[in-house]
């Protein structure tokens, strides 16, 4: 009855030196390790994970993928990420369950429609399928929407992005881990990075609670923990606020929602999983912390928002709620950089709540950066120095600010 199954990757003893050490066992780390091994033949790589792989935001996100961002620097990155899902599904021989059901983003004012018009034009310029739709078309796409003027925020129209959708996040973790391990990557779970050793301005070792590892290259890709690790290990300060973001699912329902639907005004998004649950999220408590706590406050908020957006869901029960961390930057764009503040140190962080959809492409280019020491063209706009140069990216129209004036 019970089939014997093999482990997806094998445990290896912690060696005293590696060509490269990657901090964290989330998607960005595992992707970088996989691409280092598969594209650059750097296989003597250790992925160091404090608890178990996928325990962080990698296994807590709502798995939405899309490439209809706002700026010319960001769109090509996310477009390549979207194109990578079918390629990696084949290459890793692992069903990542890419479900390109499309994303519908609702506008609740003329101003929001105008903003979408620019987003759509930018996406189309970069070859990404994104369309402006009116309220009637929204209703055709999602019949459960109320397009009368009854709701708190009436629907003026929307932005529809057919190639986006959902990917199974755990499958990506397991597929990348198995793929990397097959090529020789060591995955060390239950091992915490406690320090980074620097000699003559260069990375010389990484300290863990299981011992010291000699290495000249370290990639900090520990998701929302990256900022705290950078400060603790190197005294490096980053323009990052680590906030808890929450999500929840309802009881399973018959198929009724065939696209991801989101609304900035309600501050909520929802999609129906293949099991039938409505997965919904978005709320962040606006004070930095490192907990995964969830709140009753948010259940109430979400019930109100979803009940207005999709009135047929009123009275449906929430089954589970959970939280995870998001490392927010002031311009909603990530920080991808190398050799600051010391040679051999690389960072891939500041992804906020966009780090799932980007994980594979970030891993691919960070692997190239670590392997060659040269920053790939694709990553140049994302360097840390942009904050000092006042060249923040326009992913949001207004600066993200968690202080008291907004």
């Amino acid at each position: 009855m019970f089939l014997k199954f093999n482990r997806l990757w094998k445990e290896s003893p912690l060696k005293s030196s590696y060509d490269a050490v990657i901090i964290g066992g989330g998607l960005h780390s595992l992707a970088a390790a996989y691409f280092l091994a598969s594209r650059h033949n750097i296989r003597d790589v250790a992925v160091i994970e404090k608890k178990f792989i996928g325990c962080g935001a990698a296994g807590r996100n709502t798995a939405i993928v899309r490439a209809n961002q706002r700026t010319q620097e960001n769109i090509p990155l996310y477009k390549e990420a979207l194109d990578l899902w079918p390629i990696l599904t084949k290459e890793l021989d692992f069903n990542l369950m890419f479900y390109n059901c499309g994303n519908l983003n609702l506008a609740h004012s003329d101003a929001a429609m105008k903003a979408f018009r620019m987003n759509v034009a930018t996406a189309q310029f970069h070859g990404v399928n994104s369309q402006l739709v009116d309220a009637r078309q929204c209703k055709e796409l999602v019949p459960a929407l109320d397009i009368t003027d009854r709701p708190r925020f009436p629907i003026f129209g929307g932005m529809f992005h057919p190639p986006g959708g959902i990917v199974r996040h755990d499958a990506v973790v397991w597929g990348l881990a198995r793929g990397g391990a097959k090529l020789g990557v060591h995955i060390h779970q239950g091992t915490e990075v406690t320090g980074i050793g620097v000699k003559n301005g260069k990375v010389a070792w990484v300290d863990t609670d299981k011992g010291r590892i000699q290495t000249t290259k370290v990639l900090n890709a520990a998701g929302a923990y990256s900022a705290g690790i950078a400060f603790k290990c190197l005294g490096q300060r980053l323009p990052i606020s680590v906030l808890t973001i929450q999500a929840m699912v309802t009881q399973p329902l018959k198929p009724l929602l065939h696209h991801v639907v989101s609304s900035g005004a309600y501050h909520a998004y929802a999609n129906q999983t293949l099991k039938g649950e409505i997965a919904t999220g978005a709320h962040m408590d606006p004070w930095p912390n490192y907990t995964n706590q969830s709140t009753a406050h948010y259940i109430k908020h979400q019930a109100e928002a979803i009940g207005e957006m999709l009135p047929c869901l009123r009275g449906v029960k929430f089954m589970r709620i959970w939280g995870g961390l998001a490392d927010m930057t002031p311009d909603m764009a990530p920080i991808l950089d190398g050799n600051v503040p010391v040679e051999g140190y690389y960072m891939d962080c500041g992804w906020g709540y966009f780090g799932f959809k980007s994980s594979t492409v970030a891993g691919k280019y960070m692997a190239q950066y670590v392997a060659t020491g040269e920053c790939p063209e694709m990553l140049k706009p994302f360097r840390l120095k942009r904050f000092e140069e006042h060249r923040l990216m326009g992913e949001t129209a207004a600066l993200v600010d968690y202080t008291a004036n907004n």
Binding site: D285, P288, T291, F387, E388
Partner: protein
């Protein structure tokens, strides 16, 4: 993850009454001697430390006072300033 914050005037109140005002970064830098690096550090950069930090809060839905507290970012609870010394 609501928790209590102690306003110096109103006492312990629900955190949702307050607005977080950022890590305490000391006095605003002197504009006379300011470099782009120092300004960026003051405006954007944060320690994001694991553990106790000194930080600003504003009693927005209350008396309107600005004040600092110490909070443990790993547990998300307010602590007394003595705990900070113990943490370092």
């Amino acid at each position: 993850m609501a928790f209590l914050i102690t306003c110096p005037l109103c006492g312990p109140r629900d955190a949702y009454e307050f607005r977080f005002g950022g890590e305490d970064k000391g006095p605003r830098p002197d504009p006379e001697t300011l470099s782009p690096e120092a300004w960026c550090d003051y405006v954007h950069m944060a320690d994001s430390r694991f553990g106790v930090q000194k930080e600003w809060w504003y009693h927005r839905r209350g008396c309107g006072t600005w004040f600092t507290i110490y909070r443990d970012t790993v547990k998300n609870i307010e602590v007394s300033s003595n705990d900070r010394e113990a943490d370092q």
